[in-house]
């Protein structure tokens, strides 16, 4: 174990010094090669360390940051994987970076945002974490993740061996998530207040509208967004479990963030014993995570980055754009491996909602013309500039003072755009 930790630390230092790029995955990858049980051993050496795993298609990074903020504001030392290195090698890197040579963790909590396919693998290494937050499951990068139902099945299997030491905090309004968590011993369901679920119909990009128990079509009484809402199966009466919900005022807008924040609230309260008022106060001080409603100032104009990597994410980002007062919009579509190579999903996005809104639209990225084609079939005109630097400059120039430029990029595009804005790389 010691040599694996040392190896991880050395590689980490080297990759930083030589600026080798993704120093958040390689050191862990090699450390695991040196000792494949490294994670398990370290965890057993730190019996007082509280491990929180955060999984779901959308909202992982924001939820991780929010929980970290609350715990730190309440005098705890917290370790997280902030740069989004959310595979097993990312966890191993995080561990080798933070433990001392005896394998002791200095912090009291380890929050790990976990890739959908990685959650079952992490549970093999950390069989009983203190808490698992299950946010949602949306269709995302089918070429990489496979089908939503497959992920749900894998999760259900992996979670079935948990005992009551692990609190599972699950989204009651997502039928698949509710189904996964229902049979577990120590489960807490979260939701958002009913008055926020104002939509009466499902958007086109929905997935889980069949009953996970009997496979009949679910009836929705009201909808928050995508397939989240109050549902009931007309055949077997499967419906939302009883849940905790409150409105939490923060700098983060969007209904989807109310879900993330409610998950954080339950975790901070039930797992870490922090009292209600303190949680809410700490959340108010929270700044958005990078690329997630992150606002930057450029020449007196505001630029907001809204990572939009799947139909549900992009639909929600478009809502933010529509609520904004005549903003400029730049949508950047890449099809690299972290984005998913299949761009079919843009046809599941309700771009039609942008019609007749006073929004100037630019499109860019590797598949800019496919995106422009999608918009054309929605009768929406746009400027196409495949080079994102040019597109960004034109878009910011066209943005009136005091107005906002909203940038909606896929993952790799987000990193590029942010690099462009801040002049330095994040990863």
């Amino acid at each position: 174990m010691r040599h694996a930790i040392l190896l991880g630390k050395v590689i980490l230092k080297l990759s930083k010094k030589l600026k080798l790029g993704s120093g958040s995955t390689w050191p862990g990858h090699l450390a695991l090669k040196a000792d494949k049980n490294l994670i398990r051993k370290i965890i057993s050496r730190n019996p007082h360390l509280k491990v929180v795993l955060i999984a779901g298609t959308n909202g992982k990074t924001t939820t991780t940051k929010a929980l970290k903020t609350v715990l730190e504001e309440n005098s705890m030392q917290v370790t997280t994987n902030e740069s989004g290195a959310n595979l097993l090698n990312g966890l191993a890197t995080l561990i080798s970076k933070n433990v001392n040579m005896k394998g002791k963790f200095p912090s009291q909590a380890l929050i790990f945002e976990c890739d959908e396919n990685t959650l079952p693998k992490v549970l093999l290494e950390i069989p009983n974490p203190s808490c698992i937050i299950l946010l949602n499951l949306f269709r995302d990068q089918l070429d990489r993740y496979g089908e939503v139902n497959t992920i749900a099945e894998n999760w259900k299997k992996a979670l079935s061996s948990l005992d009551d030491r692990t609190s599972v905090i699950a989204n009651a309004d997502d039928p698949l998530i509710a189904y996964i968590a229902m049979g577990l011993k120590n489960r807490i369901f979260f939701s958002v207040p009913k008055e926020l679920k104002t939509s009466r119909s499902l958007s086109h990009a929905v997935d889980s509208t069949t009953c996970p128990v009997c496979r009949s079509g679910l009836d929705y009484l009201n909808v928050s967004y995508s397939h989240l809402g109050n549902y009931i199966c007309p055949n077997c009466s499967f419906k939302n479990p009883k849940s905790e919900a409150r409105t939490i005022e923060t700098k983060l807008s969007g209904l989807y963030n109310q879900y993330n924040l409610n998950a954080v609230f339950e975790s901070a309260k039930k797992v870490f014993g922090i009292d209600d008022k303190k949680i809410v106060e700490s959340l108010q001080s929270m700044e958005p995570a990078f690329g997630r409603q992150e606002v930057m100032d450029i020449d007196g104009k505001k630029v907001m980055l809204l990572l939009s990597k799947n139909p549900t994410g992009l639909n929600e980002s478009l809502k933010v754009a529509i609520e904004n007062k005549s903003p400029t919009l730049l949508i950047v579509l890449n099809d690299r491996i972290p984005d998913g190579r299949d761009i079919s999903w843009i046809w599941d996005v309700d771009f039609e909602n942008l019609r007749h809104k006073r929004i100037k639209i630019y499109v860019s990225g590797d598949r800019a013309f496919d995106l422009a084609n999608r918009l054309a079939f929605a009768n929406i005109s746009c400027e196409v500039l495949a080079d994102y630097k040019q597109a960004f400059e034109d878009a910011i120039n066209k943005t009136l003072p005091q107005k906002m430029l909203l940038v909606l990029p896929t993952y790799s595009a987000m990193l590029e755009i942010r690099k462009l804005i801040s002049g330095k790389s994040i990863l």
Partner: protein, 254 residues
């Protein structure tokens, strides 16, 4: 605007299982058919047909579209097709109603599908082909370019399927694989062309990326319904550029 020598033409497009079989941006195909038709002064009625729809409604269709699904949804659809709508669908295909069947829909119109555990699921058998999924073989995923057998035109798309399809008669293939895998990754065939129906693995979705195919399906539908040969016009702004870009990236000359 283009003039069509038919008074108030109307096309009824049946969209089979829009909620269940709609995994890979399938809606794009409908949006494209509708817009091209409407720009040519053809009125379009889209019938959204699902498992609770009346069996007779499909008979009204002048053009049929059905997309791909995730496994659980596919099971629900299979049940409905085998016990209810399948017979009508087969009649429609046999009587030359134009149609486009993508991925899961394509597979289900074959004779059978043998899954990775060796279980055989019967299909509707209207296409002379079968599909096998092998446990040890990976899914066929990636950008795909094929050459049309009728026109030599290149079509682009994205494929993502675990099943390998084998045509009994490979001359029935819809297209020849130029880049990617196609039916099975071995014999360079892609899809099937049977009467006025096309079965294919290309999503992306296929019609927004290949507008001539959309026009062809609409023209066939008009011909079948009104017995008039017409040529549709469409002012494309970006589709051909998008296609050129991806062909360039995949090193395929147009």
């Amino acid at each position: 605007m283009n003039k069509i020598p038919i008074l108030n033409p109307v096309l009824t497009i049946a969209w089979l299982y829009p909620e269940l079989m709609s995994t890979y941006g399938d809606r794009g195909n409908i949006l494209v058919l509708k817009k091209i038709a409407e720009d040519n002064n053809i009125n379009v009625e889209v019938l959204r047909i699902n498992q609770t729809s009346d069996n007779q409604i499909l008979k009204k269709a002048d053009l049929i579209f059905m997309g791909g699904a995730q496994d659980i949804q596919q099971e629900i659809v299979n049940k409905d097709l085998l016990s209810n709508k399948g017979k009508t669908l087969v009649e429609k295909i046999e009587s030359e109603t134009p149609g486009l069947y993508v991925c899961g829909a394509y597979q289900f119109l074959g004779k059978y599908y043998k899954d990775a555990y060796g279980t055989t699921i019967n299909g509707l058998g209207v296409f002379d082909m079968h599909t096998v999924s092998y446990k040890e073989k990976p899914r066929l995923i990636g950008n795909i370019v094929v050459k049309s057998k009728d026109s030599n035109e290149l079509f682009v798309g994205f494929e993502n399927h675990g099943g390998r399809t084998f045509l009994t008669d490979t001359s029935q293939a819809f297209a020849k694989v130029v880049k990617g895998y196609g039916n099975n990754g071995e014999d360079l065939t892609e899809g099937i062309s049977y009467k006025n129906s096309i079965g294919t693995y290309l999503h992306g979705p296929i019609l927004p990326s290949n507008l001539t195919l959309a026009k062809k399906l609409l023209e066939l539908s008009i011909y079948k319904k009104y017995d008039k040969k017409i040529e549709l016009n469409f002012e494309d702004k970006y589709s051909h550029i998008a296609k050129k870009e991806i062909l360039k990236r995949l090193n395929v000359g147009d």
